[in-house]
Amino acid sequence: MNSSTNKKLYGYLRPDGRKGIRNIVLVAYLVECAHHVAREIAHSFRSREVQLIGFGGCYPNAYADKMMNALCTHPNVGAVLLVSLGCESFNRKRLYQTVKESGRPVQLLGIQEKGGTKKTITEGIEFVTAALDEIKRTPVVDLDVSDIVAGVVSGGSDATSGITANPAVGKAFDILVEKGGTAIFENIGEMIGLDDLISGRGTTPALRDELRKAMEKSARYYTIMGHGSFAPGNADGGLTTQEEKGMGAYYKGGTASITGMIKPADIPPRKGLYLMDIVPDGEPRFGFPNPNDSSEIAELIASGALCVLFTTGRGSVVGSAIAPIIKVCANPDTYARMEDDMDINAGKILTEGVSLDEMGNEIFNKIISVAGGSQTCSEELGHQEFVLGYKTFEPVGPSCLP
């Protein structure tokens, strides 16, 4: 294997024992009404390691609460500034406590309490300035390949996605899992009609049963919504049906056995390959399970993904707050057109006859170099998209995590 896999890796050690590959200050708004103030604070540090996330809703939601708590204590996060309006439903004191107990510098600013926009921005900037200094002292320790948690998502898929980028990422996942790392795929909402294939990969009969139930839930949910996880651009790119797109998406997960099934913001308890069930439980209530790619990315990161592979055929440009996004471009024409946004050209499988194994190695090596600190295209371009909406989940049962 090439030199990047032999390079020694370092991670930021967090008090919970997890290791990060980035060390950022997070500014988080707790209702849309606090978004502008939080954004102004974060924008004062535009080229620094400061990123913005938030939850816009004023009504409480257990899922959003769990997501925010998980994101604010993500291994790539060194310190957190919480920006509240003051009258929203979000449980800001509990989130503050969670971050404080995690050992990170944290401050909670209420805009009403502080006396408005200007005063809050001034105080927020003071905190972030001090926090950037303080997190320089985060202990740096050896990072092993087995410490890596990677997620995968696809967006702007076309007919090349299922032939090049998705199976190549699957190969990279197989390597990562074999080396003792953790990989998460989450396309359960797309994989309609593939119940037997997915459920057959569970390590125990009880897990296989849970996987099948999740697939059935997904098919039912999208049927009621009347719309699959399929966009017009998918059809322009040669895809026809949800089944066809889903089968292409299926290859992202590689061929390893499925160690367990998690839901958004659950942290995989062991190493291995995990499937994330992103489809809400109960009657369809708040809308689509994956309104856009960024919402799926946020869920993978909340479950501890240190970086996320993003396969695209039509060409997506999004990045993310908190964890680097590695773009794997499936379509060689798209790569030629949008090279600045793409980290990997998996279209070489079609144009240069590169094998899936070779491409899988290239992607795995890219994960390692990004874990080693090299910037992805979307990081360099400043992409930090973030979306979080309402959902309802029941906790996973013990059968899901044998």
């Binding site: 999208y222 719309h227 040669g238 026809t240 049906t241 089944e243 066809e244 379509n331």
Partner: protein, 98 residues
């Protein structure tokens, strides 16, 4: 490099491996077919004659059903096939589910 590829031996569609222009010809089972319109990477071409209701097989699994007669060498897309599960939405604002 062959212009078409089959992803699974059991498939009844080929995948366009090299973008095709209208009037390009492709060879299937020793017979030459003229392509009517340009087709980008990954589009599907029937490997055999298909009847309405026949399953379209790609990756070795059914990805939908034919909605009309499709001849070998013909483009297989939303105009002549549909999902067996969910309607497909396109930008002309219609759910294609003939």
């Amino acid at each position: 490099m062959s212009k078409l590829m089959k992803l699974n031996p059991g498939d009844n569609v080929y995948i366009v491996r090299v973008p095709l222009q209208a009037n390009d010809s492709v060879e299937i089972d020793g017979k030459s077919y003229v392509i009517k319109q340009s087709l980008g990477f990954g589009h599907k071409i029937a490997a055999t004659s298909l009847h309405p209701g026949d399953k379209i097989i790609k990756f070795g699994i059914p990805i939908g059903s034919a909605t009309e007669h499709i001849s070998a060498g013909e483009h297989v897309h939303l105009h002549n096939m549909k999902s067996d599960y969910l309607p497909t939405y396109t930008l002309n604002n219609e759910f294609v589910n003939k």
